[in-house]
């Protein structure tokens, strides 16, 4: 039973983080209310439009970046599970992997692909 204590700690931490953010924004953040804000949130698109309307191609661009940088989790996860067995060597390997990814991110960012209005 005692090994599940980690899971419990994880749960509490996650709940505290999420709850804390909600509470903090409602306390600190400015509060303005206008019509657009009260609509259901659809990732920036207006929810009630003609179905023939095309999405901006920028959505695809962001989605592609997400997919590419997200897929790294596939490799990070087994590495995390075997972290102790792989030791320093595995750590360095992973850091090299992440550096290469970071260079990709720097490239994407500096080339202006992350700017919405360009």
């Amino acid at each position: 039973m005692s090994e599940y204590i980690h899971v419990l700690i994880m749960l509490v931490l996650a709940a505290a983080t999420a709850g804390g953010m909600l509470v903090a924004t409602s306390l600190i953040g400015p509060k303005k209310s206008f019509i657009d804000k009260m609509e259901p949130f659809e990732c920036g698109e207006s929810p009630i439009v003609s179905p023939k309307l095309r999405f901006s191609v920028k959505f695809y661009l962001v989605a592609l970046f997400f997919v590419i940088f997200d897929i790294e989790a596939v490799y990070a996860y087994p590495w995390a599970v075997l972290f102790k067995e792989l030791g320093l060597f595995g750590f360095i390997e992973m850091m090299i992997f992440l550096t290469i990814l970071a260079i990709g991110l720097i490239y994407v960012w500096r080339r202006g692909a992350l700017e919405w209005d360009r």
Binding site: L86, I103, G104, W109, R110, R111
Partner: protein
């Protein structure tokens, strides 16, 4: 833990590490670019190629030491066979970079991505040559292919370039699907993806697993696509025509050689026990590839398209040598691919110089009278075309000579006859360009001024290197043959 560490030999992948560092450096340069950098991307990537070349020859031991180094749990093999292919790839890459710089300046597209992608593609090819495992092979192949899809569509304002990229992408990924399914079936039948272990398993348990034969057939389809063998060649002419001229040169040399490198590695090292099954298949493909490539090339007016069909035909000649196998066969594959790299990139260097901004001048009629206006370009072009046609004293002649003598020695006399007949046919369309250059007047429509080739020092260097290669391979073959024999892999 100990086991993980002990099988890793980093010196076996120094060339690849160096190229990766250089390509990332170029990406970073482009990220923090100032207009002043744009002249230097090409030179930086050339330095990377030269450094990698040095490490291919020296690490992990000297080329002539004949050692075979396995690393990363047999996923990585460095033998002289792999190293010789890496030399071919790096040579092709270096020449491509030299002919690209002026081209990009003319097209006003001097971006670092171009060179970074060329280096990525080269790394992919080198991984293919050294793969001791089907997974590694797949990753190398995809790294190469994905970079090439983008490069084919690099001049993105040109519709033909976009079209080339789309066709290449669709058919290339289709072939990838077949490769993967083939690997999956082989994995299912043998329980392993290591090429050596596959060979051991097939040798031990025999061949008549339907999955294994299906898997082998699918691999033939996949490699056939990548090396542009008939009947899987239909993407080649459109892609070669639409892609920017230096990229066409690059694609016809390196990636094709890489496909053959992996093809030979998998079939001769992994599936020799199935030789009875694949011999007749490859026999038919070789005959078809040579014949169809040459016959369709006869009627082409666009030189890029003509050389696309000619590259299909040349893949057929290589396939003949591949089939002959043995020491002579594999050595002549290597010899021919080296020669082909020199002569084809040389011819494309001239095409690049002549094509003009947006590549309007790529037709045979644009070469009329070139011999009088620009003797240097015409002489060089004739040399490369003679070599492609297999006329002595060029490297192309010696290459074909070795291939057909290997075929005869191994008893493939029918195939050798088909090959020789095809070489004779091919002389017609290569000489057609030479005749246009020396015996025809410039057409009145075209102003002589407009056809002035644009030579830069880098382009001239590339042409000289290619011409030197073609001539020395033709005149002094014995020293090259010695190196090629060193590279022969005891594939059985």
């Amino acid at each position: 833990m100990e086991q993980v560490m002990s099988t890793i030999n980093l010196s076996a992948i120094y060339p690849e590490i160096i190229l990766t560092c250089f390509s990332l450096l170029i990406l970073l340069m482009q990220s923090f670019s100032t207009p002043r950098f744009k002249e230097y991307y090409g030179y930086v990537s050339l330095v990377g190629v030269l450094a990698a070349l040095a490490f291919v020859v020296m690490e992990p031991s000297s080329f002539f030491a004949q050692t075979v180094v396995y690393s990363f749990n047999d996923m990585w093999v460095v033998d002289n066979y792999a190293r010789f292919f890496k030399l071919i790839f790096l040579l092709g890459t270096g020449l491509t970079i030299l002919i690209s710089m002026k081209y990009l300046e003319d097209e006003a597209m001097q971006y670092g991505e171009y060179f970074a992608l060329i280096l990525f593609a080269t790394i992919g090819m080198m991984i293919m040559a050294s793969a001791g495992e089907l997974i590694t092979l797949f990753l190398g192949l995809e790294l190469m292919s994905l970079s090439l899809y983008v490069l084919a569509g690099y001049t993105r304002v040109r519709m033909v370039s976009n079209e080339a990229a789309l066709k290449y992408f669709i058919l290339g990924s289709f072939a990838t699907g077949f490769l993967l399914y083939g690997i999956a079936l082989i994995y299912g039948s043998t329980g392993t993806t290591s090429i050596r272990a596959v060979a051991a398993s097939v040798g031990k348990y025999g061949l008549y697993s339907p999955g294994l034969v299906m898997g082998m057939a699918m691999l033939v389809v996949a490699f056939g696509f990548k090396a542009a063998l008939v009947p899987f060649h239909m993407w080649t002419p459109d892609v070669y025509e639409g892609a920017p001229a230096p990229i066409t040169a690059f694609m016809s040399a390196g990636p094709k050689a890489a496909a053959f490198a992996a093809f030979a590695r998998v079939f001769m090292e992994g599936l020799p026990a199935l030789q009875m099954e694949w011999t007749w298949l490859i026999w038919i493909m070789a005959a078809l590839t040579m014949t169809i490539g040459n016959v369709i090339a006869l009627v082409q007016d666009n030189i890029k398209r003509m050389l696309a069909y000619s590259s299909i035909a040349h893949a057929g000649y290589v396939l003949v040598a591949f089939l002959a196998a043995g020491e002579l066969g594999i050595s002549s594959v290597l010899y021919y691919l080296l020669t082909y790299t020199f002569m084809n990139i040389g011819a494309f260097a001239i095409i690049t110089a002549l094509s003009g901004r947006g590549e309007p001048r790529v037709f045979v009629r644009d070469y009329q009278g070139l011999g009088f206006q620009h003797p240097f370009a015409a002489v060089a072009m004739s040399l490369f075309l003679f070599s492609l046609a297999g006329i002595p004293p060029t490297g192309g002649f010696m290459g074909k000579f070795y291939i057909f003598s290997a075929a005869v020695k191994e008893g493939y006399i029918g195939l050798a006859v088909i090959g020789v007949v095809n070489s004779v046919v091919s002389v017609y369309y290569y000489l057609r360009v030479t005749v246009a250059m020396y015996m025809e007047e410039p057409s009145s429509v075209r102003e002589a001024e407009a056809a002035a080739p644009i030579f830069s020092p880098a382009l001239v260097i590339a042409i000289f290197i290619s011409a030197y290669g073609v001539l020395s391979l033709g005149l002094f073959p014995s020293s090259y043959v010695a190196i090629v024999k060193q590279s022969f892999l005891a594939l059985q």
